[in-house]
Amino acid sequence: MRVLLVEDSPRLQKSIGKALQKSGYVIDTSGDGENGLWLAESNDYDAIILDIMLPRLDGLTLLRRLRKKGRQTPILMLTAKDTVGDRVEGLQTGADDYLIKPFALEELLARVQALCRRQYDSKTNQVIIAALKIDLTAHAATLDGQPLDLTAREYRLLEYLALRRGHIVTRGEIENHLYHESADLMSNAVDSAVCTLRKKMEVAGGLPLIHTKRGLGYVLKESE
């Protein structure tokens, strides 16, 4: 999952960024509204965490412009503005959720996760495809009841493919969701990651679930 954090406080950027990374998200951060809008328009994020009081461009204007351009990325407003009026304004402008500072980190993570799930029409914390079971909260996967020993990136790849099961996911989309904006990728980084994941799933003894669509990308489904 790839999340954009638009927050002008470097300390919060650091803390929230760390929490999200440790929770398996790929994070892009921006300290001002203009840059945040550019990132949100240029990338396909699973969720955006957006502060209201930002330099250059305030969060509500950013949100308005993004929605005006048809971008439906789920947005969580994270702000110190706590009155009912502020919350109503944020939600009516197009935010999907609203969290007031100070906040419990656990709650922020749960809300971000719920927003990401909503992106893929999932209402539970589990994805089950044949013998593959993914616990979205614990960031763990099992195949035939056997835990899969995955690195964080492998887990994120599996989770992304699973959330979009049955749909072809392009290499570009995978890159977008697995890697930072600033990451220097090798041309075969995605193929190599998919290959490693397949091998680990084969070792676990399951049927092949990740299928290659030549020239298009990959799809995770029960059988070809």
């Binding site: 919060l12 803390s15 929230i16 440790k22 110190a80 706590d82 009912v84 500072k101 980190l105």
Partner: protein, 464 residues
């Protein structure tokens, strides 16, 4: 104590009394002068009549009184007093009324006679006129007689004049006294009436407190003298309201500004607790606790500022009080049991009250939490709802509080020293309860009876 009304009454009465005294004296003396002048004119006319009747002959100077009284002369000769002397003092003649007694010898010129008071030979007060003149010759043809100068003194009984003056004096004194008797209450009443607007102003001013700084005095309907005062008071209220507003805004702003650093602190501690990087996690737990404590205080300060500025949206609806009390008490029951507290509930079922539920709930949560927290181990308490009076009383045992603490109980950030070490409480809970209660039309007060603290939350009677 200095009283403007008393001072004004005294000044006005003294001034009026002096004015009355001087005017009475002026009337008296002017009348006296006029009456004396009149009296003297009559006396002079009498003297001139007697002088016209005086004749000099070979046997000296004689006065021939006619049988019929002359104009200006008394009909009764006994009331006419006159005496004639030669200038050397030798008696020429005197009126019968003198009965051989003498009038005082005193004289002046005929053009400027002398008048003076003395007692008549009959003992009554009299007034006389004395002058020199040359009596006419008895026989105008007698050429050998040398006309001599004579001195005449004519006197009259002065009693009627004195009586008139006495009556005038008495009437003036009585009038002045009566006027003063009537004036004293009149001045007092009119001053009291005149002070009514001032007293109204004082009452209105006394009713103003920190919550009613929007009040302004109606300058247009006030008496002219009070307008500058009311205007100044209105200006003062405007300044006070502005500074209170600034202070509230400042509290709200500072509380708001603290939200982001608090979020930073809390997030930092939580991240370090969840994914520690070698540091002992106890420090981060402490940091988190401090952040949470500060967060609670900031939240309360903001709630207080918003409730004071009327920015809390309210939704009044009938709420069943018994289930609400039970709901609020439930999370506290475990702590109460842990401390072996015995709380009795006297809440009749089915009683409704028109309130904003979240706000009322917040008051109950604060009061119940305080009762559980501050009741000593093994202590007891009562929670009672009076359905008719719409009044909730929470009483519990306390050992820390004294009567001297009671006035401070609803002060912001006040905590008894012992409790200061207790970081769970910010000293804002009761202030918040009282402010919320006022917003909901309730009154919250505390009473200490021995070691029993009773908090009463009573719905105020609706105006009209």
């Amino acid at each position: 104590m200095k009283s403007i009304r008393r001072q004004l009454t005294l000044t006005m009465l003294c001034g009026f009394g002096l004015l009355l005294l001087f005017s009475s004296l002026a009337i008296y003396f002017l009348t006296r002068i006029a009456l004396l002048s009149e009296f003297d004119s009559t006396l002079r006319a009498k003297a001139f009549t007697v002088m016209s009747l005086a004749e000099q002959g070979r046997h000296g100077i004689q006065v021939e009184m006619p049988d019929a009284p002359l104009g200006g002369m008394p009909a009764d000769e006994s009331s006419l007093f006159y005496e004639l002397w030669q200038t050397n003092g030798a008696l020429c003649t005197r009126s019968k009324s003198l009965n051989d007694s003498d009038l005082p010898f005193r004289s002046s010129t005929a053009t400027e006679p002398v008048y003076w008071n003395f007692n008549l030979p009959n003992g009554f007060p009299g007034r006389g006129i004395g002058l020199k003149f040359v009596p006419q010759a008895e026989d105008e043809d007698e050429k050998n007689i040398t006309l001599m100068e004579a001195v005449i003194v004519v006197a009259a009984d002065r009693r009627s004049l004195d009586r008139t003056l006495d009556i005038l004096g008495a009437v003036l004194a009585a009038t002045a006294l009566l006027t003063m008797i009537i004036t004293i209450p009149m001045v007092s009443i009119s001053l009291r009436r005149g002070h009514v607007p001032l007293e109204q102003l004082a009452r209105q001013a006394a009713a103003i407190n920190a919550d009613s700084l929007k009040t302004r005095f109606p300058v247009d309907v006030m008496p002219e003298e009070l307008r500058p005062i009311a205007g100044c008071l209105n200006d003062l209220l405007q300044r006070l309201e502005s500074s209170f507003e600034r202070e509230r805004r400042f509290s709200a702003d500072i509380a708001h500004e603290l939200r982001t650093p608090l979020a930073e602190l809390r997030a930092l501690a939580e991240v370090e607790l969840a994914w520690p990087e070698g540091e002992p996690s106890e420090k981060h737990r402490e940091t988190l606790n401090i952040a949470l404590q500060m967060e609670a205080m900031v939240t309360r300060l903001l709630e207080l500022a918003r409730s004071e500025s009327g920015k809390i949206p309210l939704k009044f609806e009938p709420v069943q009080i018994a289930p609400l009390i039970e709901e609020v008490w439930r999370p506290l029951a475990a702590r109460a049991n842990e401390k072996h507290l015995v709380f009795n509930f006297d809440v009749p079922p089915g009683s409704n009250v028109q309130i904003d539920r979240p706000l009322f709930r917040s008051i109950l949560a604060n009061l119940f939490s305080n009762a559980v927290e501050y009741t000593p181990e093994g202590g007891d308490g009562n929670i009672k709802w009076n359905a008719d009076a719409k009044a909730l009383t929470i009483s519990n045992t306390v050992y820390d509080l004294t009567a001297a603490d009671m006035p401070h109980l609803f002060e912001r950030l006040w905590r008894k020293d012992k409790s200061r070490t207790d970081r769970e409480h910010s000293g804002l809970g009761l202030v918040l309860c009282q402010t919320f209660a006022a917003v909901l039309g309730f009154h919250l007060e505390a009473k200490l009876d021995g070691h029993t603290l009773t908090m009463s939350l009573v719905q105020k009677p609706k105006a009209g």
